[in-house]
Amino acid sequence: MSGEVKHEWPLFEVFVRAKRGLNHVHVGSLRAADHEMALHHARDLYTRRNEGVSIWVVKSDDVVASGPDDKDAFFAPSGDKAYRHPTYYAIPESVPHI
């Protein structure tokens, strides 16, 4: 990166709810000076064709994410807990509605 003064605005992550009843889904990021501008830019950039009914913007710096290296520590334990799944339990065919 060059040493000169950076005039870039901070990065924001954008989440759009496609329609009522669905989750907000991450769609990408953009640069804006503040939250209000980020919201306006998100509308112009990510919802030009009725893609959404609601937008969230979050400063990228504020997102704390698990890393790929955390994968085992975070997610491996659920792999050996098969008893959390309904298919773990054998029920005779003759028993209805279960």
Partner: protein, 307 residues
């Protein structure tokens, strides 16, 4: 270990995500390709943007405005994808302005008449779609997702162009001549959009192995020719290639030799519009600087004094 995970992910046809380990070469290639693509969208606003004030009707003006706005959007989706790899979009813009990064050679040709707007939609965006549809399965997740969004919007671009040309072909002889003239000028540069022939494309093998690219330049070029010929017939124009004919053995159209020296010339900066395109981009960046600084100052002030 990390390299094995990377290779296994590619082999299983799964996506690489920004925080995954990846070889330096993969990261560099991805940043270069995404940046070049983003620059093409942004520079690509200029040839058609030049006709917004001169569009022949309010309907055509609204369509053209929406299309050029889409190109801006596509550029921004792509800069956003490049930033997930640690690139900085301000830095990428500087590289473009200083000629250190490239954009598609096609945007270095002038738009002389309104028929050019139609032909760009039909042929240039048509070629772009041929290139971009396989990129929706590119191995880098953020790029593939941006391409899905872009391809959906690109279909409007091609259809509005073809419809514009059909309308002109139903008009006067002068209008039909205008369409033919535009096709004559844009056909060969459109074929060049797919890049050098496979034999002279040294990066293709590595990009295919990494599944960044899914088809070779020549495969995509052939697909584009095969798609375009019947569309040209339906339109009632002639493609400017005496060697263009159906080859029943290959089940493809044969076509004439491309003037690769022209592509080399235009890529290296000596096309008809290279200087003007970059000068405009530089001017927009410089004249917009005070707006970016003022917005940043305003945001800083607001943060210092909570409402």
């Amino acid at each position: 270990m990390s390299e094995q995970v990377f290779e296994a992910t590619i082999a299983k046809d799964q996506r690489i995500e920004p925080r995954d380990w990846m070889p330096d070469g993969y990261r560099k290639t991805m940043i270069r390709q995404i940046a070049q693509h983003a620059h093409s969208e942004i520079i690509g606003m200029q040839p058609e943007g030049a006709w917004i004030t001169r569009a022949p009707s309010l309907r055509r003006k609204a369509i053209l405005l929406a299309k050029v706005q889409d190109e801006a959007g596509h550029g921004l989706y792509l800069y956003s994808a490049a930033e997930t790899l640690g690139a900085d979009r301000g830095d990428l813009t500087r590289r473009l302005i200083e000629g250190r990064q490239k954009y598609s050679s096609i945007f270095n040709y002038p738009t002389l008449t309104f028929a050019d707007v139609g032909v760009i939609g039909w042929l240039v965006d048509g070629a772009a779609i041929c290139n971009q549809v396989p990129l929706c399965r590119s191995s880098f997740g953020p790029y593939a997702r941006a391409m899905i969004r872009i391809c959906k919007e690109e279909s409007f671009h091609q259809r509005q162009g073809y419809e514009l040309l059909m309308t002109m072909m139903r008009g006067t002889q002068a209008q039909r001549d205008m369409v033919q003239d535009a096709v004559n000028r844009w056909w060969w540069p459109s074929l060049m959009m797919f890049g050098p022939p496979d034999a002279e494309s040294p990066n293709t093998a590595q990009s295919m192995a990494w599944k960044i690219k899914r088809h070779t330049n020549d495969e995509l070029r052939q697909r584009f020719v095969d798609m375009s010929v019947p569309q040209a017939d339906a339109l009632g124009i002639t493609l400017p290639d005496a060697d263009l004919r159906w080859n029943a053995d290959r089940e493809h159209y044969d076509f004439g030799e491309i003037d690769w020296s022209e592509l080399k010339r235009v890529i290296s900066g000596d096309g008809p519009m290279n200087q003007e395109r970059i000068a405009n981009r530089r001017r927009a960046d410089e004249e917009g600087a005070w707006v970016r600084e003022a917005a940043a100052a305003h945001a800083a002030k607001k943060q210092a004094v909570p409402a």
